[in-house]
Symmetry: C2
Subunit: 518 residues, 2 copies
């Protein structure tokens, strides 16, 4: 093991150290950053240094406590920069860029990509090279700026509710915070072990060939759609096999319809049904799948299958050693203080179940830290904004139009494009990253909708398809929760051309006591 | 003239009608949409249907009043969709796209643009074709959704404070709202009339040749920098001649330095000094300019000069006919109710001076409407967020670090990249539209900073260089004005990878009673 408690590595050095350890795999040398001069007992061991563990530890440290993080990877930040949010955003950026280049192929300065397939393997390899950059930064920040202590590159073994062994040492703490995350679910088919069947984690870790012309995606999850759009944008036939209606997470019918239309226009195929067999060749590579559809079983030739069917928790050790209560799917049960059924043991992050989102993981860590440090603090998930990618960024919060009409009598909708004889063939909205569409292919320039209770004048929901509204939805959400009205929104100062036109649409109508739609 | 009060045109039809009228220029047939059955006197005539006039009229209409808009152009929306915000955003989107394609030339699927110049003319022509789309939409919305009455495609002539003639008719109203805007300033040099000397308006209206290898920009305004970055991104030598330090509008030194570095890295040249002569060839085209610099006079060969030296108001007629008071530069003086010195005459938009921003124009119109309709209402510009483009989107609000340190004792700064041995060569921030940079050229992946008063824990300022934070700054601004703290920001729900990392950076430090920087 390397004791690095007295070193100060630059981010460049960190990137080298992380890359060599990742290459060494199970034989990597653990990194130990523990202050031997500090005689205080640890307030908490965070088992897992991902979003939940790292933010929890940082917060506990800021409060004056002493946390220790133990993680099997040689970096902090967990699956996000390695397998999840970061590659996902890389691939979604690629999808957005390729949509642009394909749409305007041969126009202006654009190269002609019509009929051409671009490489998936090159993009994955680029990410695999690049990911040590964020890894390095998070290690640097955690050590030099957040003063965190950690043992990395080795699995910690739980001995009891206060004790974990790692890298040949035994660490004791007043509390244990389980933050071991989740992993992709299996499909339960024999063929799943064949080369060419991937999930989001194995794709970035193991893809070593150029996929053929057909990609089969299984599932209707965010991940399934997001990766499907990436594969589609590379020019491949893309079949999404899903039991459930895709995009059901976006609870506004019109927004969903806009998205499905745009995806289908790009050639994406949504097949209702399920995968019943994955067939391999002699070398152990996928060569076809069988899909059960309402129209019967269909065989599709493919060497590239992607599973986006959800995740299951890494809770086995905690159940066996500590006996923490779990739900039917194995997710660890916690109360609003992030406490498990076992005294002094907390759990946070993906390990405690949906939503598998960054803000929930990080805030769960923070709430655990507060409770550990004696500040009673209850975390209630509520009315959070959400997003996903197709070829676009899609953001939403609050109620969809249908839900709103069920609950309120005077629902008013402001949207772009509005209902009009030309449908979506209208050159607004337009905003950053959308201008060429607005000028040359207005149909592709996005969709946005604000749902309002005409009686109280309060904003009930907001939906945005386009680019650049994600940051805004973060800040709009608490305002909407606190009763933001159409009048208050209309008084704000827009930065035009703002990606969402909510402020100015409100202003156009706010003069009237009886609100009308747009 | 065409009476269109009983027709309902689709946006497609509107686009055709507008295009043919623009082509006809001064000989175009005016469009009259006045409800002859309505016997009420107009509450206000809005002279000018741009951002200020159109929003003011819409608001007045929503309040139950009767407005009439008169505009010389055959469309509503004014200079924004025709000359200003919209083309500017098109060109900035092109600059961002070309920065990406140049940076990754020959990598992944990217074409190789190294050493190649792309067309400015094609982009301008594309915009010239495309702009009738937004024009059409605004006419459609104004007539069919906002129930506005208007006379378009003909200049209105002011007869007195209540009377304007247009298209052979005389219109009378209880009030007159001047919203005639501003136009680009001249340089005062003989050569300015040469072909090849442009401002933002003439560029999109008249460019009919492909500019040569060198662009000379005059001025340090937002417009100068934004258009300069576009010309630079096309692969041309770009010299910005400016008396004042560029970007002085962005009041944070570090943010400014990041931007200047990135622009200079792309080859932009900032020459302190001024243009003293523009030289033409026999055909009346620019062939060189003389620039006075601290090092002496330099002649630069160029066929393409762009002036971004500010605007002057279209206030002449109102001064002569009505005698409204104006300031030294000719901008119409108004009080906080948007009233001019002449009873019943209001003025709004660019005509009343800086900031020449959309929100101020639109809100000015709204405040004028309220006061006209008897609702006393005072517009005070304060603490508004702002933005501009380089090759990036740049957003800011509140105090810069230097200003904050002058006023507060315990200023805390949270930023990305942080001060560290590798400088800006750090792979965070990363966010949508920035992922390829984060992976392959981290130096280019942006900069962001939050300025906080450690004592009250209030946010004092925020700065963002990257993409996708514009919407967020709109909503952050009123929260900051209302005293948003680091603790409240840290409790929000981020949509990760959020373009601005403000929420999570706050959360990392909020646990501590004594705030520290990052």
């Amino acid at each position: 093991m390397s004791d690095i408690s007295h070193t100060q590595w630059s981010t460049k050095r960190w990137a080298q150290e992380i890359a060599s350890r990742l290459a060494a795999g199970d034989r990597q040398e653990p990194l130990v950053n523990v202050n031997a001069d500090d005689r205080r007992e640890f307030d908490a061991i965070f088992l897992g240094g991902g979003a939940a563990g790292r933010f929890g530890a940082a917060y506990l440290r800021a409060m004056g406590g002493r946390p220790l993080i133990i993680d099997r990877w040689p970096f902090l930040g967990g699956s996000c920069p390695h397998h999840a949010c970061v590659p996902h955003h890389v691939f979604s950026d690629v999808a957005a860029q390729l949509l642009l280049e394909r749409t305007f192929s041969g126009k202006l300065w654009f190269q002609d990509l019509r009929g051409k397939t671009t490489s998936i393997k090159d993009v994955v390899e680029m990410f695999r090279q690049g990911r040590t950059g964020p890894h390095a930064f998070m290690n640097y920040q955690s050590k030099e700026q957040l003063d965190l202590e950690f043992v990395l590159g080795t699995g910690g073994r739980i001995l009891d509710a206060h004790t974990v062994s790692a890298a040949g040492e035994t660490y004791r703490a007043k509390n244990l915070v389980l933050a071991t995350g989740a992993r992709p679910k299996n499909l339960g088919l024999d063929g799943q072990a064949l080369k060419g069947v991937f999930n989001f984690a194995s794709l970035v870790d193991t893809l070593d060939y150029e996929p053929g012309p057909t990609a089969v995606i299984v599932g209707a999850s965010k991940t399934a759609i997001e990766y499907g759009c990436f594969f589609n944008a590379t020019g491949r036939r893309t079949i999404v096999v899903c039991r459930n209606r895709p995009l059901s997470i976006i609870h506004d019918g019109e927004t969903r319809a806009f998205l499905i239309e745009r995806m289908e226009e790009q050639g994406m195929e949504f097949w209702p049904g399920s995968l019943t067999a994955i067939e391999g060749d002699k070398r152990g590579r996928v060569r076809a799948v069988t899909i059960r559809t309402p129209m019967g079983e269909v065989s599709v030739a493919t060497d590239f299958v992607f599973l986006g069917i959800g995740e299951r928790p890494n809770s086995e050790e905690a159940r066996e050693v500590l006996g923490v209560s779990v739900d039917a799917e194995g997710f660890v049960e916690v109360d609003s203080r992030m406490r498990t059924s076992v005294p002094d043991v907390y759990a946070v992050g993906d390990l405690v179940g949906a939503p598998m989102e960054m803000f929930k993981a990080r805030k769960g860590g923070v709430y655990a830290a507060r409770n550990i440090m004696g500040e009673e603090s209850h975390y209630h998930l509520k009315d959070y904004p959400d997003f996903m990618h197709t070829h676009y960024e899609v953001c939403w919060l609050g109620l969809g139009e249908e839900q709103a009409r069920e609950r309120y009598r005077e629902v008013v909708v402001l949207k772009l494009p509005p209902d009009n004889p030309d449908g979506h063939e209208v050159a607004l909205p337009a905003g950053d990253r959308m201008m060429l569409y607005a000028m040359m292919e207005p149909r592709l320039s996005g969709f946005q909708k604000l749902v309002i209770d005409g009686s109280s004048r309060r904003i009930l929901g907001a939906f945005h398809v386009g680019y650049g509204a994600k940051d805004g939805f973060q800040y709009l959400a608490p305002m909407v929760r606190n009763g933001l009205t159409v009048d208050e929104l209309g008084e704000m100062d827009e930065l035009f051309l703002n990606p969402s036109y909510f402020i100015q649409l409100c202003r156009l109508r706010a003069g009237s006591k009886v609100l009308r739609g747009l």
